[in-house]
């Protein structure tokens, strides 16, 4: 009882003020996060993008503020840069496709065919590698696919040589890294499909595969798109994987940004626009499908 009387008697000017003015509460809540995100992050991004219009003094190799479109012209005309951009886009799409192709049967198996016990085990088994560390997984793939490694040893009796360190290994490693981000939403979506839809499909004479194609897949689109946002954007910006398992001909957009940032910052800045554009376009396209609201 003592506490009630004291609280009732204490005047609370700040609480009263904030209670009366909604906008003050909102400003109080938003000021710190927005100051941080805009003042530090957006300003940093803007400063970087502004550098893309600057140029390098040919003699002192110092960055000179100014306005030139040469860096962008270089990015879009230099054949090696175009190849790299297209390669990166191809890798990101391949990773997304590969993840989806494996996620759907895995999800159907877990949700519809596995016993509850096996389902729980598989759910943990898919989540666990998410925590195993980014570099740990790259190291693991490197050990698996190295010249004298496990994969070549396993395939030697069949006369098959593995991909070694190449663009194929880059796609496999990126799939290895981001697959759970596709598999988990797809599995959740399959579990949420009402059972009577399957019964109805079966009663109307559809075989298993017809049901999967005409009932399951259309309902999976939002989940596949949500998963693809991760597999696509995370693969698109990556360059560490290419560095460690890509060999000589697997440069990604990130590799070019990273290698130019000290030598030629304006070119690195101009190049940063490409992954930003790809990611923003992808987000805008997927947003139209309404899949992002469910994430």
């Amino acid at each position: 009882m003592t506490t009630t009387t004291t609280t009732a008697r204490t005047s609370k000017p700040l609480s009263t003020l904030l209670y009366r003015h909604r906008w003050m509460r909102l400003v109080g809540l938003l000021s710190l996060p927005l100051t941080w995100l805009i003042g530090l992050y957006i300003v940093s991004l803007a400063l970087l993008l502004v550098t893309a219009f600057w140029y390098i003094d040919a003699f002192t190799s110092k960055v000179i503020p100014g306005f030139t479109l040469d860096n962008f012209v270089l990015v879009f005309s230099e054949p090696a840069y175009i190849t790299t951009s297209l390669r990166t886009l191809g890798v990101a799409l391949a990773v997304t496709l590969l993840s989806a192709v494996f996620a759907v049967p895995l999800g159907i198996f877990m949700a519809k065919l596995a016993s509850p016990w096996l389902r729980a085990v598989l759910a943990v088994a898919i989540t666990l590698p998410l925590w195993a560390g980014y570099l740990v997984k790259i190291l693991a793939m490197r050990i698996t696919f190295t010249e004298e490694g496990f994969f070549n040893w396993l395939m030697a009796p069949f006369g098959i040589t593995g991909p070694g360190f190449s663009i194929v290994t880059v796609v496999l490693t990126l799939t290895y890294l981001w697959f759970p981000y596709m598999a988990l939403p797809v599995y959740t979506a399959i579990r949420q499909i009402p059972v009577n839809l399957f019964d109805a499909s079966s009663d109307l004479g559809a075989h298993g595969f017809t049901t999967i194609r005409t009932v399951v897949l259309p309902l999976l689109w939002p989940a596949l798109i949500a998963g693809s946002v991760f597999t696509f954007s995370l693969s698109l910006g990556d360059y560490i994987v290419a560095r460690f398992v890509g060999g000589a001909n697997a440069q990604m957009i990130g590799s070019i940004i990273a290698s130019n940032i000290n030598l030629n910052p304006p070119v690195a800045a101009a190049f940063s626009v490409i992954p930003i554009a790809f990611v923003v376009i992808y987000l805008l396209v997927t947003r139209r499908t309404g899949a992002l609201e469910r994430m």
Partner: protein, 270 residues
Amino acid sequence: MLRLTRGTRIAFGIVVAIVLLFMYVPLFLVIINSFNIAPIASWPITGFTLDWWVRAFQNEALWTAVTNSAIVAAGAMVIALVLGTLAAFALQRYDFFGKHTVNLLIVLPIALPGVVTGVAFSNSFNNVLEPAGIQVGYFGMIIAHATFCIVMVFNNVFARLRRMNPSMQEASMDLGASLWQTFRLVTFPQFRTAFVAGGLLAFALSFDEIVVTIFTAPAGVETLPLWMFNQMARPNEATQVNVIATVLILLSFIPVYVSQRLTRAEEEER
């Protein structure tokens, strides 16, 4: 019921087996390689040794790197907890002009490639702040990490707030509690688990981050991923990295176990 032919069921089972093998065989290879007597990764392994384990545990650079990672991750986590929770309350409780933009702003640091974020911060730190006489040094990493960690806390707290009943707080205020008392005694206990989960995710994300770290770490300072990165760049010396990778694989059981327990506890509460 989904009726599938025997052949299809077997095919699906094979796909699941391939996925599991693909996910776990490489991890097992790392563990086995940490005991491999050969200094270069190869298969089959030629002999067993604990040498790399002993050397790794005596490696001072490695322990310094672990300490650095823990400090950076803790700093980033604390900042992300404060900013992420504030933003979650603002976006969940209020409708205002530009709400979608604020949401995008929170997601952007994780949606954009790490190399862009890293290069942008390093550009600000080295080419803007340093000439102005401000040395961010060690704090540069914490600032950069906190920025992309905010979304982790935000997502968790936001999702929980959406399920909470606002009338509890109104009741508390009606009974004369101040805003702070209401928050401390009524609101916070309701989203505490989401707050902790978001904080742990932020800590884990920062602890594991490499790309932004490459660009924002001051000269001579290594976090654990940066140490691993530098070791992996010299393949002939990459022996102790298998040891630390094994430890990290084993440690990954902890968050999975904890999240299993948390979901079970939450299901029982309902």
